[in-house]
Amino acid sequence: MKKGNVLSLISFFGVWEVVGQWQLVDPLFLPAPTVILAEAWKLTCSGELFTHISVSLYRAGMGYGLGALIGVGLGVIVGWSRRLEEYVDPLIEMIRPISPIALLPLMILWFGMGNSSKVIIIFKASLFPILLNTIAGVKGVDIKLIQAAKTLGANQRQVFCKIILPASLPMVLTGLRISTALAMLAIVGVEMLAAESGLGYLLVEAERVFDTPKMFVGLLVLGILGYLWDRLVRFAQNRILLWHRQTTLEGEI
């Protein structure tokens, strides 16, 4: 972390702690960070927090993984074939604006209250950025790269594997990164509405008994998880795309 990052975090939580300790705001609404940490420690020791995290991560991971698999697979095919895009485009544009949460009642009807309905919702939430970025990535491949490959003797399949795929990878990975945040957003919503476990459930449960510190623990964990997930994808992105990073603005920063 850079100096500015640390300073910003310290001052933010410092001011908050002062407000909490002096009770400038009713602790029912805003408990001090130390109180929240104590609560977090308690929940960790009892194993409750771990259970909720693992359940949420399992659902989010499954849905996201499915979204990545199908998003990239379908995106590559659709981007490659102009014909297919004609057929798929209206469907994509119609399903895309529907909020993932709005699908919940139907999914419960179809798949019941278990994990599958939640996984499907997360899948829906993470699919589209991946799909659309992949399509754009494939379509955006420089025609000259393809021409160069062809005049070097590459056939259609080789152009696809050796040119289209690596050239569109930067866009694909950007889609994967955007979707991590969306998956996190969706999982909480779904768990708040229809679940007996998970971080979203933890939040609702805390609200029912006015356990504000617990609520904050839930939020804190969500923030940290989202951050770590994004870091992971970004790490992979940088490792895979060394060549790309240094030819674009990103390498300058």
Partner: protein, 264 residues
């Protein structure tokens, strides 16, 4: 039999709004094996179009275009093109770029390593095998592009203003380099440029193309022996020849201007 036989080729681009552009018309040219041909002409005269046709990346509208006695019906490893912007594969190292052609041909890894070694040496990039294109200068990138094309052992090398984006000094150095490489490899070269000096210096024959529509206006036989030294460009013969070519091209430019004035 000439390696490339171009007979009354016509190429029309439809721009979608019913307006057609005739890029080439009645274009005829015979290129012999191992010849170094340069093509010059005013901008927009269809030089690049001609290269794309020979590369199989564009289709002729009418006429006959034979390569090795067969009509060209698509891109082929026998005709490799080198673009002005190098178009290296940025995710591949220098070695990875050079071995692309042999790789898609299915040549074994061991043999490819040998090929890489040979062509890296040929273009003088020893020690840079594992660098990525973005780590190289423009001149070095174009060397990689040349090595990548030659590693494929094409019968014909098509070069579309390959040195156009290099600075003047690098450009001169690359011209000398190219001749040295060509002397060693001896494939047929079709070289498009807008630099008359470059064209005269490099080629066996120089083709001047007229503009709109492009057709062969005049073919010059370049009398200078090989191997050529850079010094010849200051000789009186060279200067006189370059001036004659320039005069022809300027004629074309003026001609174009007149037409433009009429249309206004």
């Amino acid at each position: 039999m000439p390696l490339i036989d171009v007979h009354k080729v016509r190429k029309v681009y439809a721009n979608g709004q019913g307006k057609n552009t005739v890029a080439l018309d009645d274009f005829s040219l015979q290129v012999e094996e191992k010849e170094f041909i340069t093509i010059v002409g005013p901008s927009g005269c269809g030089k690049t179009t001609f290269l794309l046709l020979v590369a199989g990346l564009e289709q002729i509208t009418s006429g006959v275009l034979l390569f090795d006695g067969h009509p060209i019906d698509g891109p082929d490893a026998n005709q490799t093109i080198i673009f002005q912007e190098y178009v290296l594969f940025p995710w591949r190292t220098v070695a990875g770029n050079i071995e692309f052609g042999p790789e898609v041909k299915g040549i074994s890894k061991r043999k490819r390593r040998e090929i890489i070694k040979n062509y890296v040496r040929l273009v003088g990039l020893e020690g840079f095998e594992n660098r990525y294109p973005h780590e190289l200068s423009g001149g070095m990138r174009q060397r990689v592009a040349i090595a990548r094309a030659l590693a494929n052992e094409p019968k014909l090398l098509l070069m579309d203003e390959p040195f156009g984006s290099l600075d003047a000094l690098t450009r001169e150095a690359m011209q000398v380099e190219l001749l040295r490489i060509w002397q060693e490899n001896r494939c047929t070269v079709l070289f498009v440029t807008h630099s008359i000096e470059e064209a005269v210096f490099l080629s066996d024959r120089l083709v001047v193309v007229s503009s709109q529509p492009g057709r062969v206006k005049k073919i010059f036989h370049i009398p200078f022996g090989r191997p050529r030294k850079r010094e010849i460009i200051t000789s009186t013969d060279f200067v006189a020849l370059a001036a004659e070519v320039k005069g022809l091209i300027l004629e074309e430019e003026n001609y174009k201007e007149r037409i433009n004035r009429w249309e206004k």
